[in-house]
């Protein structure tokens, strides 16, 4: 089957009424949670996992994918208007986007983001359409040792590229792998770490862990930091960019699309990383780098295009290799597993409706998002009137009721709250739950592949050195370590790019004393707008 046949079949699936509804719900929800600070795509997908349980597999993945790339659009809105990134990938947009708002050009910033996101998203889906089947074909040749290397390498890169302490991230990944071993041993059937409890025999529930760490943990964190407060909003005018804006943005959008596509395929690449790299790249090649940080439209167009492109191409490793490249994709991986579908090279042949349906739905989803974010952006802006108190309470009850519905008993509710408290403590003490969840999701498959590899090789580790895939992954990791070491030796502070960007944002950010009251007045903006 060629990519065209597959895509044709995919569109037939995507245009089924139930699936159209799923993509619409997904992208609207994605935009909404992108707008609402404090609730990102990971938490939202965690919240909705129990509901997808009863849905058709294709529809559920279409919806969850829509939430992910939809949130990339939505996150821009608060970055530009309030300098509060609705989700992490829009952090850099807050720099020049907010400066544009101060100059009364909020509309142009949002408009160019939507256009860039649409172009980046669509170009990447086209790339995905043609690359994914090829990649899936190649992936069939990957054997157990290759899989072990891919998963370990992926985990290593996600842990070390991500935010926070690399060592802590690595040890969280270790904990995640360990937690996945709780329950019956998949090969010998021996119960492990169950302490005689029948509840634990089937293993720790992925949904409970994800809902606890990301859902309840984040909500408790929001409660701690938010007192009563309300966001005051204004009307957005001039959403259609001017000819000059388009001319200046064409280059950044084109580069952002390619950059985002390439980075999204790499582990840890989707979203945040691509927008950071695009920003620094645009600043470097700009003839007027001094305008960056003072409302340069290039600093909005590039990163916004790149984060959308990368969030789409990040599906390639998931759909073809079965290796999620970041934590949001890990949630989708988990959602597929819940439906009894193991993502991997065989997905395209065994579940073509899921594979092509999801890809085709992305074309539709990006079109809907363009419509939502150009003429209808004003409606989403009104969402900022929702009080955090309502939002947190409602989300919390959804998590708890969802947990109950998992097994129709209160045990899962307790588990979710316990993991929620652990998640909050982790956030407070500087441990990122993302590597843990990513490792947990991969844990069982990784262990099985590892044991198979050892059986094949008769206990010798040489097998890893004879496998081409393993060698490539090893070379990547070694290269990465050398790169990091050289940078450190050359006296560059090992601080991440994110920290640098954060600092330049912070210089003009509202004082931290204002944090507990999330109230910003945009009256100033209103005056400035034409």
């Amino acid at each position: 089957m060629t990519a065209f046949d597959g895509l044709g079949q995919g569109f037939l699936v995507a245009f089924e009424p139930g699936n159209l509804l799923a993509v619409l719900v997904g992208v609207v929800l994605g935009t909404v949670i992108g707008v609402l600070p404090g609730l990102g795509p990971t938490a939202t997908i965690a919240l909705l996992l129990p509901i997808t349980y009863s849905m058709d597999p294709t529809a559920s993945i279409i919806m969850l994918a829509g939430i992910y790339y939809g949130s990339m659009y939505g996150g821009t809105i608060t970055s530009v208007l309030l300098r509060i990134p609705g989700e992490a990938a829009s952090v850099v947009t807050a720099i020049d986007g907010y400066e544009m708002t101060k100059k009364g050009r909020a509309g142009a910033a949002l408009g160019i983001s939507a256009i860039g996101s649409f172009i980046g998203g669509t170009i990447t889906v086209i790339g995905l359409t043609f690359l994914a089947p090829v990649a899936a074909k190649a992936a069939i040749m990957v054997g157990p040792p290759g899989y072990v290397a891919l998963m370990v390498g992926g985990l290593f890169l996600v842990a070390t590229i991500g935010s926070g302490s690399k060592l802590r991230n690595l040890s969280m990944a270790g904990v995640g792998l360990f937690l996945a071993t709780v329950g019956q041993d998949p090969i010998s059937g021996v119960p492990r770490f169950t302490f005689g409890s029948p509840y634990l025999l089937s293993g720790l529930d992925f949904v409970a862990i994800a809902m606890g760490l990301f859902g309840v943990g984040e909500l408790l964190h929001t409660l701690e930091r938010t007192e009563r407060g309300q966001l005051v909003m204004t009307k957005i005018k001039g959403i259609w960019p001017k000819r000059d804006d388009l001319k200046r943005s064409a280059g950044p959008i084109a580069r952002g699309s390619v950059l985002g596509f390439l980075i999204g395929i790499l582990p840890g690449g989707g979203g945040v990383m691509s927008s950071l790299i695009s920003y620094s790249m645009e600043k470097k090649i700009s003839k007027h780098p001094e305008t960056f940080g003072k409302g340069a439209i290039e600093g909005v167009a590039g990163p916004e295009t790149a984060n959308n492109a990368s969030s789409t191409s990040a599906f390639i490793p998931l759909l073809t290799l079965g290796v999620p490249s970041n934590v949001v994709l890990a949630m989708l991986f988990g959602a597929l597993m819940l439906q009894g579908i193991t993502p991997g090279p065989q997905l395209i042949t065994e579940h073509p409706a899921v594979f092509w349906g999801v890809i085709a739905s992305m074309y539709v989803g990006n079109l809907i998002l363009l419509a939502l974010n150009m003429p209808l952006v004003g409606i989403f802006v009104q969402l900022l009137r929702v009080r955090p108190s309502y939002l947190v309470s409602i989300a919390l009850v959804i998590v708890l009721l969802g947990a109950y519905s998992l097994g129709n008993n209160a045990f899962d509710m307790v588990l979710v709250v316990v993991f929620g408290i652990i998640g909050w403590i982790m956030l407070k003490t500087g441990f990122d739950p993302a590597p843990l969840v990513l490792a947990f999701v991969l844990g069982r498959i990784l262990e099985t592949s590892f044991r198979k590899t050892m059986l094949i090789s008769g206990g010798s580790l040489d097998i890893f050195l004879r496998d081409p895939v393993t060698l490539i992954v090893l070379a990547l990791i070694v290269g990465f370590i050398i790169f990091a070491a050289v940078r450190r030796l050359r006296g560059r502070t090992p601080r991440s790019l994110a920290a640098v960007v954060a600092q330049s944002t912070a210089q003009t950010a509202p004082s931290p004393a204002d944090d507990d009251v999330v109230a910003f007045d945009l009256k100033e903006t209103e005056h400035d707008q034409r």
Binding site: R168, T226, Q507
Partner: protein, 171 residues
Amino acid sequence: MSAHVDEMTTDTEAVPPPRRTPWQKRVPDAVLLLLVGAAALQALRLPLGSPSDPGPGMWPLVTTVFAVVTAGICVVRPPEGSERFTRRSWLVLLAALSLILYIMIFPVVGLTVSTALLFLVWIRYFFRERWWATLIAAIAAPIAFYVVFVVLLDVPFPADILDIIFGRGRT
């Protein structure tokens, strides 16, 4: 997850680190080290098998030893990045307690009553909204949840007072 403004500002206000690390900074990593250390000891009690045929204990041992090593380095050189505990942090403990109570009364009094009470506590006391705003939410939200989860999604929740109104009586 989202990045927030206050996370960004911590960088600029960071004071130069003192030469000796205060012991409090080592606590989180030390706790983690104890936990994964205990897990590693538990893994040793399982049959390890041989390298050519790994038993059920081998992989847990590999992963926990890895965690022990990384956590151990963190105890010696604690990384930065923790948030300060404030007075509002105590609120989180109360909030967690309220969730436990919610789970305890949920099977007894049903979705509507327990959710209304949870909303009352959270919105009025934790978020300090006005009474009228609290009451509207505490009445409207449980009904909405009931309609979505019980009427539309047909989740078998414990008996509820709204069952009578919606004619969904169960034995």
